[in-house]
C-alpha cells in the first residue's frame, strides 16, 4: 500500500492503495463513484473514460500510481454545482437529454467525458471532428447520430 494524493472532481483526495490497482476499481469500489463503467476491461469500449489532466484515458488501463498528483475528473464532476450544494446538468448533459444522446446509458458517462474533453480543447464541431473525438467510445444503442447532434447542440449553446 502506498499513499497517493490527487484532485478528484475539484476535491483533494488521499488514498492508500496498491500502486497497480486499476484507477477504475479505485473510483468504483474505494471511492464509491460508480458512474464510471466497465464494459470490456481492456481499453476497447471507452465506458470507463475519465479525464486525467484534461486527457481522456480508459480508467481500466491506468494504474493508480499514474494519477499521483494529477487532476482527475469523472462523470460525477461534470454537473454544475449550485450554491446550495445541489448539482444541475451542465450544457453538454442537458443537450444529451434533449437530443436523445443517451439510451441505455451505460456508455453515456464515457461519451460525456470524451465530448467534454473535445469541446474544452476547442475542437471543431463539424460531424467528422466529433465522430473522431468519440471514436474510442462504443455505443450499441444510438447509431451515434443523436450523440453527434447532442455534442453539436452543446457546442452551440456554449458559444
Amino acid at each position: 500500500m502506498t499513499t497517493y494524493r490527487f484532485t478528484l472532481n475539484e476535491e483533494p483526495v488521499e488514498v492508500d492503495a496498491p500502486g497497480m490497482r486499476r484507477l477504475l476499481d479505485l473510483l468504483r469500489e474505494d471511492l464509491a463513484l460508480t458512474g464510471t463503467k466497465e464494459g470490456c476491461g481492456e481499453g476497447e469500449c471507452g465506458a470507463c473514460s475519465v479525464l486525467v489532466d484534461g486527457q481522456v484515458v480508459d480508467a481500466c488501463l491506468v494504474p493508480v500510481c499514474q494519477v499521483d498528483g494529477a487532476v482527475v475528473r469523472t462523470v460525477e464532476g461534470l454537473g454544475v454545482r449550485r450554491p446550495d450544494g445541489s448539482v444541475a446538468l451542465d450544457a453538454l448533459q442537458q443537450a444529451f437529454l434533449e437530443a436523445g444522446g443517451a439510451q441505455c446509458g451505460i456508455c453515456t458517462p464515457g461519451m460525456l467525458i470524451a465530448a467534454r474533453a473535445h469541446l474544452d480543447a476547442g475542437g471543431r464541431t463539424n460531424d467528422d471532428a466529433i465522430r473522431e473525438a468519440i471514436a474510442g467510445n462504443l455505443c450499441r444503442c444510438t447509431g451515434y447520430t443523436k450523440i453527434v447532434e447532442a455534442i453539436q447542440l452543446a457546442a452551440g449553446s456554449r458559444a
Binding site: 444529451f96 441505455c104 447520430t145
Partner: protein, 836 residues
Amino acid sequence: MTIRTEPRRTSTAPSSPVRDAPEPLLATPGILTPGRARAYPLRREGPAKLTGEARYADDLVFPGAWYGATVRSTDAHARLVGFERDDAFDWSEVVVVTAADILGENIVSLISDDQPVLVPVGGEIMHHAEPLALIAAPDRATVAAARRRLKPVTQPLPPVFDPEASDHVFAHYEIARGDFDAGFADAHLVLEGEYRVGHQEQLYIENNAMIAVPEPDGGITVHGSLQCPYYVHKAMKRALRLDDRGARVVQAETGGGFGGKEEYPSILALHAALLARACRKPVRMIYDRHEDIAATTKRHPAIVRHRTAVAADGTLLAQDVEVVMDGGAYCTLTPVVLSRGALHAGGPYRCPNVRIRARATRTNTPPNGAFRGFGAPQTEFAAETHLNRIADALRLSPLEIRRRNAYREGDTTPTGQVLRESVAAHEVLERAAEAAELEGVRDRTARGRAEREGSGTIPSSPLHTTSARRAHGIGLALAWHGAGFTGSGEVKLASVSSVELTSEGTIRILTASTEMGQGTKTIFPQLVARELGVSSGEVEIAPQDTAFVPDSGPTVASRTAMVVGGLLIKAARKLRARVEEATGRPFADAYAEHGQATGGLRVDERFEPYPGIEFDDATYTGDAYPAFGWASCVAEVDVDLDTGELAVTDVVAVDDVGRVIHPILAEGQVEGGTLQAVGYATIEEMKVRDGRYLNDRLATYLIPTALDAPRITALLVEAPFSLAPHGAKGVGELPMDVGAPAVVAAIADATGAWITALPATPERILAALAGGNRLEPEPESPLGATVDAPIAGGTDPAPEHATDPQPFRAPTDPEERTNGGVRTFDNEPDPDASDR
C-alpha cells in the same frame, strides 16, 4: 433530420389506401424541426444516467457480498466424469456448488426442459463454456484461485457442428400456399440462390450481471440486468423450489439488451441464487466481457436457399424457400425464432404459390437465442438479396421490381392472412427511394461501372478498374416485421398491466416491462397522462420488481409500446371514468383528493384477443401477426477496389411504426437498429472453431464505432393499426431486418459482385470481385430457362483456410493458459499481478 408524422404521398407513390385512423395521438402533425425535444417529455431516467447516479447491477452495494464464478467446460461434447480438487488449496474458504446441490429441478425453465442449470456428474456436456460447477468466495482473488484448482474430468464424445448434418431437430415448419408446380411451369425465369449468415453477438455495453440475496425466510431476491423479470421468476421457482413470493426479481438499470438479456439472465440468476443459498451471503455474479461473449447466446446462424419463378415483367410466380437454423446445444427460444424467420422468409411480397420449409437443429455450440429481429433478419437478408438478384437478371431496377410485387392492402400472405389494413410497404419504399435520390444515384453508379469496364487490374476479375481505386454504389431493401408475439402467443400469455390511483393521491403505472434504453419509462407515463388529462410528470412508474408489478409479459418482440402500452391506455380510461363518475369532476382536478379520501383505486387490464385475428398453430395458417410494420432502407457504400475495404457512407431508413409516440425515442430506435444491421452486414463476424468462439473479446469481435457508422437519416411513417387503441405497432426490431440486404445490394451496385454470406468482409468482397459470384443471365432468356448461381463455391473464406490458425486469438485466450495438458476456461488476471 425531418420527421413527417403525417403520411405524405410522393408523385411516384401509389395512392395510399384510405385509413380509418384513430385521431392523432401525441405527435403534432406536420414537420418537426430541431428543438422539437421540448414538445415531448424528456427521457424519464435520463438525468440519472447523465450524472452517473443511475445504478446498474454492478453499481449496487450489498455489504458482505461474496463473489461468484462459473467453472465451464472446455469440451464441445463430452461426458462429465467428475471433478479434481487440488488438495493444496484451502477449500474451507470457499463454497462450491454442483448439480447435486440443486433442490428443485435441474432445469432452466423455458420452452423445452433440455438445459440443465449445471451439468450433473455422469451427464453430457453439450457445448464449450457450459456451466459445470459454481464457486463463491469473499474476495475476487480467492474465487479466481479456487476456480483454477477445480478441474472437471471429462470423456470426450463426438461433436456435431454442421446444422445440416445434425439429426436432432428442435423445430420444423412448413408453410404452403397455391399450386407450387404450376408456378414454376409458367416461369420466364427461375433463379436459385443460397445465402448464409453467421452468429451475431448482441454486445450490449453492460455485460450480464446478477446479484442474489438470501432472505431470512428462505426466499431469494435477485437484482440484475435483465429484460424479462417473470422469465427469471419462473426459472427460480422451478430450480430453487420457491413459491411466488419466495422468488423475487428486481431489475437494476439495464445497459442494453437487444434480446441478449431475454432468456440468458435466468441461468445466471439461478447460479447466483444457488451460491447465495450455499454461503448464506449475497453473491455477485458480474460477467466480464470475455465470459459474456464466450458463454451467452448469439443470433442464430442460418442457411437459406431460394428457388424463385418470375414472369418476364418481374412478377413473382412461385417461391420455394428452405431455411436451416443452427440452434446450438439447447433449445432456448429456437422454435419461436425459427417460426418468425419462416413467416418472414418470403419477404413482403405478393406471391400466389409459396412453399417455405424451415428447420432448426442442434449442434455442439453454445446455445443461440433472442437477438433483435428474432429470426427475421436472417431470412429477410436472403429474401431481399435474392429479389435484388432477380431484378439484376431481368434488368429491372430494385425499386421497380418492388413496385410490382410489394404487398398492398387486401393481399394474402403465405399463411393465408389477408392484410386488411396498415400496409405501408409502398409508402416506405417510395419515401426511401425519394429521400436517397435512388434512381439518380443509380444512374451515376452505372456510369462509374461502365467507365471501369474493359481495363482490369484484378486477375480474372469481371470488374475492371482503370485508374479508379474506389467504387460507389447504392442499394435498396424492403422489409416487414410482424408486430408483437407470433400467432397465438399473446393470447396464451394473457398479460396484465395496471394503473393505480394510490392512497397518497398519486398516479402509478405497474408493469413488468423493463427500460433498457428504448424508452419504456418515458412513453408509458406519456400514454397514461394523455388518457387521464394530466401531465406526464404526474404519472409515476413502479419499479420492475416482481413483488410489486403484475406479469405484463416479457420486454421483447417490439410488443411494449403496442401491447402493454395498449393495456395501459385501456386501464387509464377505466380509471378516469371511475374517478369522474364518483366525483362528478374532471379527473385532473379530482384524483389527488379522491385517492386520499378513498384509499386508492387500481385497474388491472388483461390482454384480450384482437377481434378477428386468429392463427392455427397446428396448420400454420391464419393471422400470424395482428399487424406488420414496414421498413425500407437505402444504403450507399464505397468499396476499395484494391483491398476490398468497405465503407457504408449513408443510409436512409424509413420505418412505419403505426403511430409515433415520442419521435426522438422512435428515431433513436431506428438509428440504433440500423447501425446494428450495418454491423451485421459488414464487420460483425464470430469465428467458430471446434464449437468454440475464437474472437470472444471486444478487441477481436468488432462493432461499429462513430467513424464506421454511416450518416443515418431516419424517417418515420404512420400507418396506424386500428385494433391497438393508440395505433402503435412497435419499432424496436423493424430496422434490424432491412439494413444488411441494402448494404449488400449497394456493394453489388458498386462492383457487380453479389455477396451471399454475411458479413461482407474485405476477404469476401475480394473473392467475389475475383469472379465467384457474378450473375450474368441472358437478357432474353427463353421461357423456363434456369439460371443457377454458383453461390456455394469460392466466396466464403472459412476459418480453416486461413493461414494463421487462430487469427483472432487474444493473448489471454483460454487456450494459451494450457497447463499440464488441461485446458481451463479462465480469464482471471494473474492474481500475483493484480490487486483486485
